[in-house]
């Protein structure tokens, strides 16, 4: 960092100038970060907040806008890459803020411990458009513990012949787990594609007692 050491004696001075206790600085960083988040929220310029939660299917990234939960991402999707996509597609004003996503984290915890069968969260579906969005909107209609076929989802979204497109809509669901695309399986009984991988899909269906 200190390339500009062109004055004799500067190095010692700078070591003293920059030498802060790391522990104290970490606490300071947390305090300043919390203050920034609060001020940004008050100023109405906190566009995307996020946190991660630990679950039986690995750490999940949760991201929200002022409207609601906008993204749930599995670790295999690469959380840093997902945050980069959110910055590009929604706004680069992205800050970590566990407090703002407390309700979503609690409901997910209840779901994964078998105490919750549906989510009661404001959702922001802006990452999905057109037919895909219609498919997503139909997902909560599949009851906890049951499954539906891709063909049934295409029909539910109003285009019975668009089975392949319904599959794509499920595979690109920006809100997996919360919008239960894991309950959509192939007509032959095999699981089909899932953003979190086949093992995660199976784990969710097993948790729900569906398979």
């Amino acid at each position: 960092m200190m390339s500009a050491n062109d004055t004799p004696g500067a190095a010692e001075l700078l070591a003293a100038l920059t030498g802060e206790a790391p522990a104290g600085d970490e606490e300071t960083s947390r305090r300043l970060h919390a203050r920034l988040v609060a001020a940004a929220a008050q100023a109405g310029i906190l566009d995307v907040t996020y946190r991660t939660v630990e679950t039986p299917v690995g750490p999940l990234l949760l991201a929200a806008t002022a409207e609601g939960l906008v993204r749930v991402a599995y670790a295999v999707e690469d959380h840093d890459a997902v945050l980069g996509q959110l910055a590009a597609r929604i706004s680069p004003r992205v800050l970590a803020d566990p407090a703002r996503l407390e309700t979503a984290a609690r409901e997910l915890d209840e779901y994964f411990t078998g105490r919750r069968t549906g989510f009661d969260l404001p959702l922001d579906l802006r990452l999905s458009t057109g037919f895909r969005r219609l498919v997503l909107a139909a997902l909560p209609g599949i009851a906890y513990g049951s499954t539906a076929s891709y063909a049934a989802m295409a029909a539910a979204a109003g285009s019975p012949r668009a089975v392949r497109a319904a599959g794509t809509a499920c595979a690109t669901n920006p809100l997996p787990v919360v919008l239960p695309c894991h309950r959509v399986i192939k007509s032959d009984g095999t699981l089909g594609r899932y953003a979190g991988g086949e093992a995660a899909k199976q784990a969710l269906l097993t948790l729900e007692g569906a398979a």
Partner: protein, 166 residues
């Protein structure tokens, strides 16, 4: 070219900007200066041209915020005639450990020297960038930083040897 999440900017540059704020406005006002700087930066961030030097941009904002703070403090202050450039005493423990002695020595520097030292040596900006922030030429910024370091060396390193600052 797209923007990184602002969280990445805070994590990467936050500590450096805090050190710069501590050096320029003193430890007591530093957290206010840092907070105002990053809030203003967050507001302007979507419009930052791609490929910008983010650290120079943040230091420029911090510089303006420090000027605003100083003006606000001057407006609040009761006029008291011509005061000499007095060291800021806030946040300084009475008995000198090395770091607080250095902060005291830094606070005694004329503002331009303090800014030049902080922006060049703490934020690692080249003199051309320092000059763009402060106004004036890169050579003047270099001279101010060199004078500042020389003064710090006198009062701080001298103290180290003698055990008592002059």
């Amino acid at each position: 070219m797209r923007h990184e999440p602002f969280e990445t900017i805070v994590a990467r540059h936050g500590p450096t900007v805090l050190r710069v704020c501590r050096a320029v406005v003193g430890p007591a006002a530093a957290e206010d200066a840092w907070s105002e700087t990053f809030l203003a930066a967050l507001r302007a961030y979507p419009g930052l041209p791609p490929g910008s030097n983010v650290e120079a941009w943040l230091v420029t904002i911090a510089h303006r915020k420090a000027i605003d703070q100083a003006r606000a403090a001057a407006r609040r202050a009761v006029p008291a005639g011509d005061l000499p450039d007095r060291p800021a005493r806030d946040g300084l423990p009475g008995a000198g450990d090395a770091a607080s002695d250095l902060r005291a020595a830094l606070a005694k520097l004329p503002l331009k020297q303090r800014e030049s030292v902080a922006y060049h040596y703490l934020a690692d900006l080249p003199y051309a960038e320092v000059a763009a922030i402060l106004g004036g030429t890169p050579e003047a910024a270099r001279r101010a930083a060199a004078d500042g370091i020389a003064a710090l060396r006198r009062s701080y390193l001298h103290h180290d040897e003698e055990g008592k600052a002059s």
